[in-house]
């Protein structure tokens, strides 16, 4: 694990070598000790972002201060003009964008992340196989025992205990919940008509825990639990994670490659030239993991501060190209190259200095 991380850093740094030279603003502004850009938002991609910011500071001298206070807080601060950029798991809807008075907000994908179902069933050594309707019914409280016939049918040859299933959910609003409920809503009518899709929903059964680390901890310490966390937390906590049946009908384990597969070809499904709001949940690719999602960076299309605007756009350009090299080591999947081209074109359209 540690070796993999080190390798990732080395690759990331090596990849930096081919980058364009530092921005001229750095010299114009002189000082490199002060903070140049501020951002706030999602906690989910924070490990990757913080690596980006430190690599970028070393490379260009541009310091970025990011507060991982949650997507909701990040969007609020962007709306109030407190920060230069926001970060969110859940893209804003047109109605939400319309409510922001300061101008049009651009939302660009930064990386691909995944949500995994983790469980703690004493004595179970085989990898659990699950389908969306079974997961929905577990989280709805309709399947209550581990040896339920529907679970047994999916996991032939695996001995499942007759114990009660303990559901663990996110008590705080989160992008992880947004992705997970997106999947359940798409595939289960009962879920769509009940708890529905959102960053916080009313969970019919179970225990609530705060944050990915809270869910992982609760699952780890309580037998017969099932919960959902971001991929990195399952890996770090060495929790077993379920293989999920994707739309093509295959059971796929959550790996970075399967996440990357979920994003493959996504550039052909974009709703508009500068609109990247596509769900990566349950995509039709054969080896795609069904619970994948973009993480988003939010910025104003018209940047009022010339120097800051240029720095911000330069950083995002770097992040979607060179920055992608650090993704895999931290359990995220890089953006597909064809999508990066589209993002760069969108960034060219940011107007700077009005």
């Amino acid at each position: 694990m540690r070796r993999a991380t080190l390798l990732g850093v080395t690759l990331g740094l090596a990849a930096c070598g081919g980058d364009p030279p530092a921005t001229p603003e750095r010299n114009a502004n002189g000082r490199t000790g002060s903070v140049d850009l501020t951002g706030a938002g999602a906690t989910f991609p924070y490990p990757l972002y913080s690596r980006w910011f430190s690599e970028y500071a070393v490379k260009t001298g541009v310091k970025i201060n990011y507060q991982s206070i949650g997507s909701g807080g990040g969007i609020r601060q962007l709306r109030e003009g407190v920060v230069d950029f926001g970060a969110s798991e859940a893209p804003l809807t047109d109605a939400e964008i319309a409510q922001i008075p300061r101008g049009r907000v651009l939302q660009v994908p930064a990386v691909v992340g995944g949500v995994v179902l983790v469980y703690n069933v004493p004595g179970l050594t085989a990898e659990l196989k699950l389908t969306a309707d079974v997961v929905a019914d577990i989280f709805l409280g309709r399947i209550t025992k581990w040896n339920d016939p529907r679970l047994a049918e999916l996991n032939a040859g695996v001995s499942l205990p007759p114990d009660e299933i303990v559901v663990v959910y996110r008590a705080d609003g989160s992008g992880t919940t947004y992705v997970f409920t997106d999947w359940l809503t798409r595939v289960s009518a009962a879920w769509a008509g009940g708890p529905g899709h959102g960053k916080d929903v009313r969970w019919p059964v179970g225990l609530g825990a705060k944050g990915n680390e809270g869910v992982a901890g609760q699952v780890k310490t309580t037998p017969n639990t099932i919960g959902f966390v971001e991929l990195a937390y399952a890996t770090q906590n060495r929790l077993p994670s379920a293989a999920l049946r994707n739309r093509a009908g295959f059971f796929v384990a959550p790996t970075v490659n399967a996440l990357a597969a979920a994003a493959a070809g996504v550039e052909n499904r974009l709703p508009g030239p500068n609109d990247f709001r596509v769900s990566l949940v349950d995509t039709p690719v054969g080896d795609a993991y069904p619970l994948a999602s973009f993480s988003w960076l939010l910025l104003y299309q018209a940047q009022s501060d010339d120097a800051k605007g240029r720095k911000l756009v330069d950083f995002i350009r770097w992040a979607v190209r060179t920055g992608q090299g650090s993704a895999r080591a931290l359990d995220y999947a890089p953006l597909p190259p064809a999508l990066v081209t589209r993002i760069l074109a969108t960034l060219d359209g940011v107007s700077i200095g009005q």
Binding site: T43, I69, G70, S71, G72, G73, I75, R76, E96, E164, V166, A171, D172, G173, S174, G196, G198, K199, D200, V201, R202, W203, G206, L207, G208, A209, K210, G214, G217, Q218, T221, T222
Partner: protein
């Protein structure tokens, strides 16, 4: 010249003293303004309704309100006798070395950050409650509704136990100081009248220390009501009203901790402000009411002593 110095001093200290009411005022006003839309829309349903669904605009915190009171009162019930007992032992019975060590340990406990208590609670106390405490309680009182249902480890009882541990140092430290402050002459007088050691403690020491101990308990209750991180990590975070202490629950403070970061809609934010206001009100009222009531009984007690004398 001295006059000027005095005036400067007086002004400075007055300003310092004003900072306290000023900050309380600012906090109350901000919360009240923020909470106003919810208070107007939801009204009393805020505390009477138990369904909390931000997306459909239902903001009822009955479960969290009950959970807050339940966990805090239970914690005080556990911590108060334990803390007072520890204080009596350290002051009256323990050899100097032992009492010094106990006092230091107590101070260290008080200084542990709440998130560390939370981590310990989630890693050790939650499994302990599930495997040991809950089965034991169910064996004794399994037929009562208080210990009904399965225990997942996380729940009201676990939160109360963790809170008890967290407020124990406060009760102990304050009790220890006030018990130690009771004049030696008073103890000697009681002993000289033929009182046994227990009678001396009961009739001469504890009555004199009562106000201070009550203050310590009020302080501890205030802390328990407002405790956030540690409780969030062990209570199960579920809007549910249950007689069972083993069931998961919620508190006002953990509701704030969970939802403030992601609350994007104005209605949701305003509802959380209302929750904060409620919590502030609860802490202020609880602490003041207890302190006042106890001060009054102590005064009455002292007056009675005067009369009999």
């Amino acid at each position: 010249m001295t006059g000027l110095g005095d005036r400067v001093w007086r002004g400075t200290t007055t300003l310092a003293a004003l900072a306290i009411p000023a900050s309380l005022g600012v906090i109350s006003v901000v919360l009240l303004v923020g909470a106003w839309p919810t208070l107007r829309e939801t009204g009393l349903a805020l505390v009477l309704d138990r369904s909390w669904e931000p997306r459909s605009g239902a903001f009822g915190v009955a479960a969290a309100l009950v959970g807050t009171l339940e966990t805090s009162l239970l914690a005080v019930l556990i911590a108060a006798p334990l803390g007072i007992g520890t204080a009596l032992y350290t002051v009256e019975f323990a050899p100097t070395g032992v009492s010094r060590v106990l006092a230091t340990i107590c101070d260290i406990l008080a200084a542990i950050p709440s998130v560390v208590y939370g981590l310990w609670g989630a890693a050790i106390l939650v499994p302990l409650v599930r495997t040991v405490v809950a089965p034991a309680l169910q064996a004794v009182g399994g037929r009562t509704p208080f210990f009904a249902g399965p225990s997942y480890g996380a729940g009201i009882l676990t939160a109360a136990l963790l809170l008890a541990l967290m407020i124990l140092p406060f009760v102990t430290a304050v009790s220890r100081e006030v018990i130690a402050a009771v004049p030696v002459a008073q103890r000697e007088a009681a002993l000289a009248l033929g009182a046994t050691r227990w009678e001396m403690l009961r009739d001469a020491v504890l009555p004199a220390a009562k106000t201070g101990i009550a203050g310590g308990i009020a302080l501890a209750l205030g802390r328990a009501l407002g405790e956030t991180m540690a409780v969030t990590m062990v209570i199960g975070n579920r809007h549910e009203l249950s007689w069972s202490l083993l069931a998961p629950g919620y508190t006002l403070a953990s509701l704030l901790a969970n939802e403030f970061g992601e609350a994007a809609s104005d209605a949701h934010l305003s509802a959380l402000m209302a929750v904060a206001l409620l919590l502030l009100l609860l802490v202020t009222l609880a602490v003041n009411a207890i302190a006042r009531r106890l001060v009054r009984t102590v005064r009455a007690g002292l007056a009675a002593v005067e009369v009999t004398r």
